[in-house]
Amino acid sequence: MKKILASFLCIAIISSAFVGCQSQSTASPSADYPKKEIELTCPYSPGGGSDIFARTFAEACTKVGGVPKNVMVVNKAGGSGAVGNAYVYGKKGDDYSLVTMVGGQMMTAMVNKSDVQADMLTPIACMALDEFTLAINTGRYESLDAFIAAAKEKPGQITVAGSGMASDKQLCTELMNQYLGLELKYVSFDSGGEVLSAMIGGHVDAGICGPSEIVSQIEAGQVTCLATFSPERLSGIEAPTFKELGYPDMVFQMFRSIAGPPDMPPELVAYWEEVCKKISESEEWQKGYCEKNGLTNKYLNSQDLKKYWETELERYKEIWTSVGLM
């Protein structure tokens, strides 16, 4: 019994140490930075949009960004981004740690009143923007006006599907309610696939979808896009933007940015800013990632990103408070 216990404890401790160990570095950026691999935390599980963003970025760092060492992506999912945020917050002083920060992470941290709010981390650069569209199963409504009329006729009964609670998709729905004077009911699903199924299956009246999700559906005539929340018309989708229809406040894009642990030294931020700039100007990023995924390429340096975060936070706060989620 003792032997068994001893060997069990041994293996348990060794494997725990193995998998639980994290490397810490206290070196400040110098001419030979980076000296080892960099860890890029993705606060969502593998396979999702953030994960693809992180992995594409990581590969681009070495390919076109000029980073001599590999960037390794580590998934730390949980709490809709809270676990990843907290993990990187605890990495203060570590020069080899980065994290992806998307609008949804910021929103949920706010709504859930998490300990680590997104703006406690250091903004480095914005890399891309997600666009949103209002889509319907072809034939359900003849036009956007018909949809709005139906919604006005039956307040609280017209349903709009989207993925996630207190998410970017729900925010779009609330924008419609606020500026078009409607009472649309938001129904949350777990993924874009389920949203499409609910729409096409006729269980909901409309859906908020990313352009890449519906491009082939539109081509097949299965789905029609009524309007988009983008500042300009989206390529491949022949639908008006809410802005051109007279609602400039209804523009919404979700940012995808790179951030770092709190109080990152300015030289380090500048280094990564440069890398991000190179990547965002490359063909690989623009054609290979943004276009293929229906994203808009957008580069903002750390100062501009910090201001952008602030304005977005204000916006989210206003909308979520008016809906009662905060």
């Binding site: 599980s45 999912a77 809270a82 949350s188 199924s197 491009v215 097949a220 299965q222």
Partner: protein, 505 residues
């Protein structure tokens, strides 16, 4: 060109050396990923996706698809041998697989698992080939209300898994529901029972819970009882010949595997339901109507056949909405969808007409891949069974290490390891007092889905419960539920009435 002609064309494409090699490589990777506890098809496919970008789309997707369905084969190995399910879709396999291994029939259990996986997978692919678009349309008509009704039907089957003491079984189920309630709730987005911990914000992860309740509890049991996993006297059936099934066993397996194949395919193509839900439903269904249902759970081939056939059929079924409508049927197919777009294909209703070479090449290679998996699976049975000969003093630390590493690998979080350890201890204590563990898991998986679907349905209907009655599918399922619940009571009354009549006469 008719379907059969296109399929033959696809075979020509699938049988090229490059694609065959890709299928084989994918199959091996999938088997390994599936067998390793904690790593499931979702992680495996997403991590290996970037590697396939260098290949042409058809070859790439053949490899990824092979990883996906081979994962369902592999998951059964650790489930049967170590009582640790490779991932969520292998949980039901442990219920009969491991008892069989303990009885000295590990080889036969593995053979059954491979054979049933093959039958289920092939049925799924055949249905996909000839009825794919039609079935996808039917799947679309299952909205939140219909899925809620389906899950309710499944939940009533809890009674069958309650074991000898219904009260203890109900307490287990209640515990499962309570554990599932931890996290952010589906309706309003407010945290429940999280006690301020961010790790609990997304709830308890299923895999560490399962690894703990099955694997780690097993380790504690081994350490306490000092018994080997298999008595020394029964360690002689180590050859492939010794693992062959008797004709009687094969006769029993076939109907079960075929039934589960059909049901599993259908569940796989429902939105939001994947291999895990499928294997639960096929096992429950078999437990309800199968010939040998009383012995299920004690170590009979029917149990393995139902579970394994179900999860393989579901993985094939998940491709139906993906290929015919461009809508992913499960989490892993969602990753595949992303991959398809990266390769420049446009998944959607036009994929069959726009890229027929790709689609039929993929479908044909799935037939081939299934055969490859069967052959590899059967060939390594003797090797796998040898694992059981490892002495207990090495087995305990080895399995503990696998449990710890498997739980950590989910989210790179030591918290999951903690969950695993705690649930292992709790499960050991529960089972040593005759509380069944299976209802905990069933309730844990199905209750939140039920809650979510009901919430969505009520959101759609603006709070009115009439939505469950208005939909024909939902109505039928609800009637079936009521029938199943009251059937035993009705039969009793009818029988009593008949005996009364007889005694009067």
């Amino acid at each position: 060109m008719d379907t059969f002609g296109m399929l033959m064309n696809g075979f020509a494409n699938a049988m090229t050396l490059q694609n065959l090699f890709a299928a084989m490589l994918g199959a091996v990777m999938g088997l390994v990923v599936g067998a390793i506890p904690g790593m499931g098809s979702l992680a495996g496919v997403s991590l290996l996706l970037p590697l396939t970008f260098k290949l042409n789309p058809t070859t790439g997707i053949i490899m990824l698809a092979a990883i996906y369905y081979a994962n369902m084969y592999g998951g059964s190995y650790s489930a049967i041998l170590l009582n640790i399910p490779g991932d969520a879709s292998a949980v039901m396999t442990t219920l009969d697989g491991n008892p069989m291994a303990k009885k000295g029939q590990a080889g036969q259990a593995l053979f059954t698992a491979n054979l049933s996986s093959f039958i289920g997978g092939t049925i799924g692919i055949i249905l996909l080939t000839f009825l794919g678009p039609l079935l996808s349309r039917i799947g679309l008509s299952f909205g939140p209300a219909e899925i809620a009704a389906l899950i309710l039907l499944a939940l009533t089957s809890l009674g069958w898994l309650l074991g000898s003491d219904p009260m203890k079984g109900l307490i287990s189920a209640g515990l499962g529901i309570l554990l599932a309630a931890i996290g952010v709730d589906q309706a309003v987005g407010q945290p429940r029972f999280t006690f301020g911990s961010i790790n609990l914000l997304s709830g308890i992860n299923f895999i560490p819970l399962v690894i703990g309740m099955f694997g780690f509890a097993q380790v504690i049991d081994m350490a306490v009882k000092k018994k080997t996993m298999q008595s020394v006297s029964m360690v002689d059936k180590l050859t492939l010949r010794g693992s062959l099934l008797s004709r009687d066993q094969v006769k029993r397996i076939l109907p079960v595997a075929v039934r589960s194949g059909f049901l599993g395919t259908f569940v796989g193509l429902l939105p939001g339901a994947g291999a895990t839900t499928a294997t639960f439903l096929t096992y429950i269904f078999e437990k309800r109507i199968g010939k040998n249902r009383d012995k299920m759970g004690t170590g009979v081939v029917e149990g393995i056949a139902a579970a394994e056939s179900g999860n393989n059929a579901a993985s094939a079924g998940a491709f139906a909405p993906l290929l015919s409508l461009g809508i992913p049927g499960s989490g892993t197919t969602a990753v595949l969808l992303g991959g398809l777009m990266m390769w420049g294909l446009k998944p959607g209703p036009l994929l069959f007409t726009q890229s027929p070479d790709f689609v039929w090449g993929l479908i044909s290679s799935m037939y081939v891949g299934n055969i490859i998996c069967l052959i590899i699976g059967l060939a390594i049975i003797p090797g796998l069974v040898h694992i059981l000969r490892i002495p207990i003093s090495m087995m305990i630390p080895l399995v503990s290490a696998i449990c710890i590493i498997g739980s950590y690998s989910i989210g790179n979080n030591m918290f999951d390891v903690g969950i695993m350890l705690v649930s292992g201890v709790v499960a050991y204590l529960l089972s040593s007092h005759d509380f069944p563990v299976a209802p905990i898991l069933l309730a844990f998986v199905l209750a939140p889905r039920f809650e979510k679907s009901v919430t969505q349905a009520l959101d759609i209907s603006n709070g009115s419960f009439k939505i469950f009655i208005r939909s024909p599918i939902s109505l039928v399922l609800l009637c079936a539920t009521i029938l199943f619940v009251f059937m035993p009571l009705l039969l009793k009354l009818v029988r009593k009435h008949q005996t009364d009549k007889l005694s009067i006469n």
